[in-house]
Symmetry: C2
Subunit: 801 residues, 2 copies
């Protein structure tokens, strides 16, 4: 076993930036933070310790995490010093989980907390309320939740602090995004790759990210990996990631204040130097070796050194609440009182509970306070996009289902124009697939951002540039994190990704949806741009990539979240996709999921029809129906591009074989229209639903995704008993598109058989047609098998005959 | 912009290990691989080029990825050399996506492919079939799918090659796991953190992992990050990760063969040295700086240098099919022929299409061939676990619902005993939470594995050891990857993780489920141990962690996959959890998801009753029902620990207020019992379902997860119209457990109101009880709010009065 010993780091060779008086003040401010952090974990009363501490002053249930708090406050107060000194615009992201006390404390001291929540005023009663609400029923959480002023990063799930920070810094040239990175979260995959974000930050036009890796040493019950490798390895790792690490290590506050102040001075000076050089225009912009800080300080720093004979500060025992059972155990109560008094609260707060005047001077003023910086309440800065007229990119559709086009190409043109008109306010994100997704028109407006090294042949493609705003990296986590950070700070964007692997970011979707759901209830949080995701390269064209690439289940994850936030659209053709994208780009506080394949598809609606159809979200396609003026015998539904095509083909075949059969054809774009209006704001009323889908006629619903999702949405509808859904049911391997459709029974032939089975008067009369369908199915399967051929077109329903 | 130029690496200073004849043979073998790889992408006929190439010899649809293939084969043939030379046990994992041609080719040449698939024989006709099937309808995929002999890693989704490799190496002391890591996948988060797995590999008892980072240079349309940072940074990065990198760089095959052979010799010698020292017992085991290889070779190496004036080999254009439209474009056809002939197939294969004799000698023999190593068909090596009698850990339940116990503690004892009896065959995985999850009894049988540095105080806890088999790292991705690799190579394990964040590995779950679904159809793949996941720290006890930690939606992801694979259990108490865990640990080729909270809960069933109840998976609890001998008025269902408790409390209150009301109480453990038997092998027949749930009586179903999931499973059941489900509906923040239950209406009071609303004769008679319930609800809410108190117990239904 290798044993390590850790010596305090040397103070950088700049002159000591703190004189004794400054140091004493900074330390006092930090003591005030630590006092508040401990106070909010323990106290419901006696906030200023004016009386001896008694059991009734202590919360019944002790919650919260002391371990990371002192370190977070330490960073915060030192950042305050830089902000004051330089007038630096800065925000702070706290990566470590449950570290909120270390952030809430300085927010309260700087006054922003009381401004936003006047009942948590800067006096004794306000402090009492401030303490009580923490991790208390009806109060606030132990993460930096949306209720926390200055927060764009909750930190409830670990791993996204760095990518969020970079998203915030992009196109924010004057902003310094300081981000505390936990050594626990550093073990997660998303965090481990996000360090490479420095290859995507342009010092001339973007702000700076200053990571402060907090080597606190422990997770809940284990040491952390990064705190237990050699100093040499740690330094190599970060140099290898392209950073210039500065180390601040030790436990003596005096030493640490000096070291941190000097190091921050050096780092910020270096940042400004890099920026000044890049902005001078004297040479082409290149990647910088940005500074970062490794802060190694004891977990639970300044807290109890020992409890019941066990060391606490500096160990995993300091992770949560270092002293338990304080109400019952007089010894612990006494120890808590001694601990709290060790911060000398009487020297920090006046009799009314207000921070003493000379310490108040240590806080930045106004919007320079990190809790008040508008970048962290991005809706305040959000400007509507300058939108082109999407009609200009319309596909010409003289006749429905008569020709094919790439559905996503016109969208690429729309995005190009949005990009061109909204220079520093809009970015497009995608993992190496924008060309494959046929969105490559955007490169005419902006190239792919690339700040790693170039080879001579790169100029051939001409798509890479240090000035690009198309963000491509093979990490869905990093892209999603950047995008969230970008819109949380007031900008706009668009994300396209492969359907099967969007599950990689299920959990990030969940967290962002929850963030938005809470924001909707916070009046001071201004609405931000929606998160727009194009899910493409979809299941029905994953015939040759095979089984692993067939998974339309992201929608099942999406629907579980708050209906005020969630939106799902499945435009069947290029014009509907354009209308949908326009709508999504204009919306706010939603997560818009658009499902559209990247291949060529039949076109159905001209632009006028598309606009009307999309406005309703669901509707009868008269040209494909023959039930005009009467009740249909059957309702055929298509939802999604390929399922719509197959449903239309089935309808055409039905008309041929059963000219008297009344078929109503419905297309569903807006998936939530299926849900009752009381459950989702986009849900159809029962009356509208019933008039579309009838009260009792068979509905054959051909769906893009897993079929059960439709039942989940529509099970309350009157005619649910007659709803028969086809969709993907995990039947696939290396197939032709047609065979994949047949195996999952979404193909035209299966649908015709479905109709015959469900419409009472066809059961006997249709027997021979069923037979014929089965023959055609196997004929086509064999033919396609031989020729690897695509799905037949609607008009080719007799194909291959 | 930084421009880089790359010079060929120096050959390591060991003597040149290849004489001219050996080099020529090795190169010929590699040419044979490349010929086969190109052949399977292009040819459906004329496999040996006995005639001039004609359009009809070419596949209609050209699929597959040439780019990575030559590099993969290069690694494979050099590994073969080491295996032969040293008699080394080895398997090979191909991380890069779509690289299958580079692996299939040497599998065919070594003979394993023809042994497993006799129609792909080692002759001209066999080769023709071998070519045709590739990425062809009804054939095989372009990843190393389960159909590929020797594969435990499909590579369809990027990011898990390293963690799979480590899982395979654990407790396999003689095995070398060589793993090709794509530079594309290296950008993913899961891959970026998996490099730290070297802190968890014990050289004394585990095998070795030899990563070969393939700096191919390009993804689909972009350069890769790791290929575009300086050599110095790259080296620092991997040294920082704790590896010793060796570089093999260049494009001249002669040079590269020499460099690769010398480097592999050096790496394997170093591995054996590390192992010998660790196994000598002369000093305590410590972490090794294992060797790894960085192989920088051109993308599409040996393929067309230029097509239509554009450079191809060495660029992103070589990613997929370098020559398109070969059937139509005579120039391309000619170029393809020249390319194929450049490998001189006539010198490689005899007239019958069989590899010539002197090259056959280059392949290892029998099970030393990487395609035949039984470690890659782990079911062959799998031994049943030596299981203790789970009854020994039973909780004593003299009376149902009379006392509380920690549900997961006895499971911890069971796992401890399983661990003790199955030394090198069983590991437990969890992200830093086994103690928090009350499974810490296991540490008595095995400590947590830790090979990073130690501090003196670590001995205090006594839970860390270089010899532990409890795997804890704060990366669900890495744990899941290790666990999959471990069972795919024939061993057993158990994984526990927090419910809200299991979504982090949704996509890994999907891929493993798909892998198993395919394996079930491959006769030569022997069944492996099931993947067992305990989902704990569940939504209903995430009152203080708050909204972000409330997400029971993993089950919605689970149910979409193949029913032969998926299993979900929600045991209501400790004894049911023991029975369930025992069953899961004995099962094969399933993914077993067990949902059980880690807190104290009421206990209901003694061990005999639990065994019977779990065998059925769903059943009436007579002691809680009063409908004996008649049809009930209402069916009350509990599914999950807390929902069952609340449903029972509601039942007790109903009995008090409406003594004549006949209530049937059902508990559901096996979630899939709700699905029709035709849809899931565990589904109840309609007859059984109807007899339990009645044909027409109201069912109040109190569910652990999102309520819609129950409708998705049961919508085909006769009585679905009367099924009313309660569950989590995203109503939460910082609450008391009771308030969280009330907000989502799964609490006892809401359930009583539900019954009154649904049972016709109670609608009037029950009005005052509804009133009373509402009063109690708000009284309790206020009381709990004040006192932060837990959910009341069943018998305390009048609480707090």
């Amino acid at each position: 076993m290798n044993q390590i010993s850790i010596a305090p780091s040397a103070i950088p060779s700049t002159e000591h930036p703190l004189d004794a008086a400054e140091l004493e003040q900074l330390d006092a401010y930090w003591r005030a933070c630590n006092y508040l952090a401990a106070g909010m974990i323990y106290l419901i009363d006696n906030p200023l310790l004016k009386e001896p501490l008694a059991p009734e002053h202590i919360k019944q249930r002790l919650l919260g995490h002391w371990g990371a708090s002192p370190g977070l406050s330490f960073m915060y107060v030192h950042l305050n010093r830089i902000i004051r000194k330089l007038g630096q615009q800065a925000i702070f992201l706290a990566g470590p989980g449950h570290g909120a006390p270390g952030v809430l404390a300085p927010l309260y001291l700087e006054g922003t907390y009381s401004e936003v929540y006047p009942d948590k005023s800067e006096d004794e009663e306000g402090m009492r309320r401030f303490f009580k609400q923490f991790s208390f029923p009806g109060g606030i959480g132990s993460h930096c939740t949306p209720e926390t002023p200055g927060s764009i990063h909750e930190g409830g799930e670990l791993g996204y602090s760095i990518s969020h920070a970079f998203g915030a810094a992009f196109d924010n040239p004057d902003l310094l995004v300081a981000v505390a990175v936990g050594d626990g979260e550093s073990e997660t995959g998303p965090l481990a790759t996000a360090w490479h974000s420095n290859k995507f930050l342009n010092p001339a036009r973007d702000g700076a990210v200053l990571p402060i890796l907090h080597l606190n040493g422990y997770k809940i019950n284990n040491p952390t990996i990064l705190s237990r490798i050699s100093h040499e390895e740690l330094e190599q790792l970060f140099r290898g990631y392209g950073w210039t690490p500065y180390f601040v290590e030790g436990d003596d506050p005096q030493h640490m204040h000096r070291a941190m102040a000097a190091t921050l001075d050096a780092c910020v000076a270096r940042i400004h130097e890099i920026q000044a050089q890049a902005r001078s225009g004297s040479e082409p912009v290149s990647r910088a070796r940005w500074p970062m800080i490794v802060l190694r300080s004891p977990k639970g720093w300044t807290g109890p050194a020992e409890v019941g004979g066990n060391p606490v500060a500096g160990t995993w025992r300091a992770h949560q609440v270092p002293l338990a059972g304080v109400r019952e155990n007089p010894e612990h109560l006494q120890q808590l009182e001694a601990w709290l008094r060790s911060y000398r609260p009487e020297t920090l707060f006046d009799d009314d509970g207000r921070l003493v005047e000379q310490l108040r001077a240590l806080s930045p003023q106004g919007n320079l306070r990190m809790g008040s910086n508008p970048a962290a309440n991005g809706g305040l800065l959000r400007r509507d996009l300058r939108m082109p007229d999407f009609r200009e990119y319309a596909v010409d559709v003289a006749q429905a289902a008569a020709h094919k086009a790439w559905n996503t190409r016109p969208l690429g043109e729309l995005l190009r124009e949005v990009m061109a008109r909204n220079g520093e306010n809009f970015r497009v994100f995608g993992p190496d697939e924008n060309t494959s997704n046929k969105l490559d028109a955007i490169y005419a407006a902006s190239r792919k951002l690339w700040l790693a090294d170039y080879l001579p042949e790169d100029d051939l493609g001409g798509e890479l540039s240090p000035d690009g705003r198309v963000m491509e990296m093979l990490s869905e986590h990093t892209l999603e994190g950047w995008y969230e950070g970008y819109i949380l700070t007031g900008r706009h964007g668009f994300f396209s990704t492969y359907e099967a692997f969007v599950h990689v970011i299920d959990s990030m979707y969940n967290q962002h949806a929850k963030w938005l759901a809470i924001c909707n209830e916070i009046p001071w949080r201004a609405p931000i741009a929606s998160l727009n995701m194009l899910i493409t390269s979809t299941v029905w064209r994953q015939d040759h990539n095979g089984f692993t690439h067939q998974d339309p289940g992201f929608l099942d994850v999406v629907v579980n979240k708050n209906p005020e936030v969630t939106r799902i659209y499945l435009p069947p053709d290029a014009n509907c996709l354009l209308v949908t994208a326009d709508r999504c780009l204009r919306s706010r506080n939603n997560i818009n999921v658009i499902v559209s394949d990247k291949q060529q598809h039949l076109q159905y609606l001209n632009m006028d029809a598309a606009i009307k159809h999309c406005a309703k979200g669901v509707g009868i396609w008269d040209w494909a129906s023959n039930d005009q003026g009467c009740e249909p015998d059957v309702v055929m539904v298509g939802c999604g591009d390929i399922p719509t095509q197959e449903a239309l083909a089935a309808t055409a075949m039905l008309r041929e074989h059963f000219p008297d059969l009344k078929v109503r054809f419905i297309n569903v774009i807006n998936l939530f229209s299926l849900q009752p209006e009381g459950e989702h704001p986009q849900g159809l009323s029962d009356r509208d639903f019933d008039s579309l889908f009838t009260l009792d006629k068979p509905i054959i619903f051909n769906f893009h995704g897993y079929p059960w999702l439709i039942h989940r949405l529509a099970y309350r509808r009157t005619n649910h008993g007659q709803l028969h859904v086809r969709g993907y049911k995990e039947k696939g391997n290396i197939n032709t598109p047609l065979e994949l459709a047949i195996n999952n029974e979404i193909d035209r032939f299966s649908l015709v058989i479905d109709v015959i089975n469900r419409v009472p008067h066809l059961k006997v009369a249709g027997a021979h047609v069923k037979e014929k369908m089965r023959d055609l199915q196997s004929e086509c399967r064999a033919y396609a098998y031989q020729h690897g051929i695509d799905l037949p077109e609607v008009r080719d329903w007799t194909w291959p005959g």
